[in-house]
């Protein structure tokens, strides 16, 4: 479904990604692991089009989308939960969720019940401005907002950051549920190893902008991986 082939990415003169490849398939969770500053976020930005790549290609459902604008990628079905939430601070919670309607056809423009059952706090704060929410609430809003888009690929950059344990569990369950539906590919960046381990079907480990290890979810049991990240 989504395929990243051998991409390079630069910030000015500094190179953040070196020949990174990654695959995401429907009904599967692909985890991206690595320490701080190794390029995980950069990779996600490349996938959703927020940052241009200097080399390599990104394919989605067979099309080369390397040059496609972010809005059109979203319209094709790539949804993004960025690191740092990036909710729209002055829009209300309801309006924040409604921004996800853009890629949808008119009859589909409603907020799925799942969102509220997953994050009940959003339902109770629909009229509050997004920027007034607490950090964790904003994170929940960011995930909810992505789900409103009914994406084919869900890109999650550290979605559990700042979220209380019980909801982390719920998010885990939600990802499992989405995976079980079988039509959504999920790319998950996660530092919280145990969380990743439970969910990953595939994984890659990055170091200094490059992929240094990859494999099936089962391989995560290997203490080697944990060490790699821990160094």
């Amino acid at each position: 479904m989504l395929e990243v082939q051998d991409i390079d990415l630069f910030y000015g003169a500094a190179q953040a990604l070196r020949g990174v490849s990654l695959k995401a398939e429907p009904g599967k969770v692909t985890c991206v692991l690595g320490r701080n500053g190794v390029g995980k976020t950069s990779l996600m930005r490349a996938i959703v089009g927020q940052q241009p790549v200097a080399r390599g290609a990104i394919r989605f459902e067979g099309d080369d989308i390397t040059a496609v604008k972010p809005a059109d990628r979203a319209r094709r079905g790539i949804a993004f939960v960025p690191q740092g939430r990036e909710i729209f601070p002055l829009l209300t919670v309801a309006e924040n969720l409604q921004t996800g309607f853009a890629p949808l056809k008119r009859p589909e423009r409603f907020i799925p019940d799942d969102v509220f059952s997953l994050f009940p706090v959003l339902d109770s704060m629909l009229r509050r401005r997004g920027g007034d929410l607490s950090g964790g609430q904003q994170q929940q809003l960011a995930i909810g907002r992505a789900l409103v888009m009914r994406p084919k690929v869900l890109v999650l950059d550290e979605p559990t950051e700042g979220i209380q344990p019980s909801i982390i569990k719920d998010i885990g369950n939600a990802i499992r549920y989405l995976r079980s539906k079988g039509d959504m590919a999920i790319v998950l960046v996660e530092q919280y190893f145990d969380f990743a381990k439970e969910l990953a079907d595939h994984f890659i480990v990055m170091e200094r902008g490059a992929v240094v290890m990859s494999g099936d979810g089962a391989a995560l049991e290997d203490p080697d991986v944990r060490n790699r990240i821990a160094v």
Partner: protein
């Protein structure tokens, strides 16, 4: 601080014994909050919150998203004024609600923000220089020169936060996690009496989380008081200190981590089953 009284599973919002204890502790406490209430457009973010932090104590605070943890820090650091309640510092000598951010910071209260905030257009090293404890006056700083001691201190901090190779990069060009570390470094540079640390390990790997816990313990051992907010239970366990759980703007439970996490209400609203 006598803990036993506050260990009942359910502490009502305005529990007289609690107040009494708090009052008694006023002169001993480094930080003293009593009946602090903050409302935003009718929504109570803090609801008669009372607790104290002793000199040299480290305290972990947990609680559901939106429980009011960050708001509590805002109140202490002067960013938000409480509608009601007292906030005293240093044995009741200073009323923090009457001071502004700068004055509070100069008293020796340092803060790390939930969303990492560094000086993005300054290099990493300049970020530390700016934070370094010392002269704050405008005119005096025109002619300020960096001393050898200061340089050493900065090097030391670089050792701790492992950003040495990024010294000359702009703060804004760091990754999320690197900014977290830089902000911790800035907090160290300020050398405050009381550190308020909001979610320091969000976005860190498990190993780094452990290191951070170690770092905070060390700081605490050097006589600084620390208040840490975190959702990462492993980290909180690593800290090994008293834990307080906030819920809907007031204290829900307090005690060791085990005690708190055994609390039914805490499990219900926070930890999940």
């Amino acid at each position: 601080m006598s803990a036993a009284d506050t260990l009942e599973p359910d502490v009502p919002e305005t529990n007289d014994p609690v107040l009494a204890i708090a009052k008694k502790d006023l002169t001993e406490a480094l930080l003293y909050l009593d009946g602090v209430t903050v409302t935003f457009d009718g929504f109570r973010a803090l609801n008669a919150l009372s607790f104290t932090v002793d000199p040299g104590e480290m305290r972990a605070i947990i609680g559901p998203n939106g429980a009011g943890k960050t708001t509590m820090m805002d109140v202490i650091t002067g960013k938000t004024r409480p509608d009601k309640g007292d906030v005293f510092f240093a044995g009741g000598t200073t009323d923090l609600t009457k001071l502004d951010e700068t004055q509070i910071a100069t008293l020796g209260i340092g803060r790390k923000f939930q969303k990492p905030t560094v000086f993005e257009m300054h290099t990493v090293i300049d970020n530390l220089r700016l934070a370094l404890k010392g002269q704050r006056g405008a005119l005096a700083n025109i002619f300020k020169r960096e001393t050898a001691a200061e340089r050493e201190k900065i090097d030391e901090i670089f050792q701790t936060i492992k950003l040495n190779e990024h010294r000359d990069r702009l703060g804004g060009a760091l990754s999320h996690g690197q900014k977290q570390w830089l902000e911790i470094g800035m907090l160290l540079a300020q050398d405050p009496k009381l550190l308020l640390v909001d979610e320091p390990v969000a976005g860190m790997t498990d190993a780094e989380t452990a290191q951070t816990a170690e770092l905070l313990r060390e700081i605490n051992a050097n006589g600084h008081s620390v208040v840490v907010v975190e959702h990462d239970m492993t980290f909180v366990r690593d800290l090994g200190v008293r834990v307080m759980c906030l819920h809907e703007g007031s204290v829900l439970a307090e005690g060791t981590l085990d005690q708190v996490s055994a609390n039914e209400r805490v499990i219900e609203v926070y930890l999940g089953r």
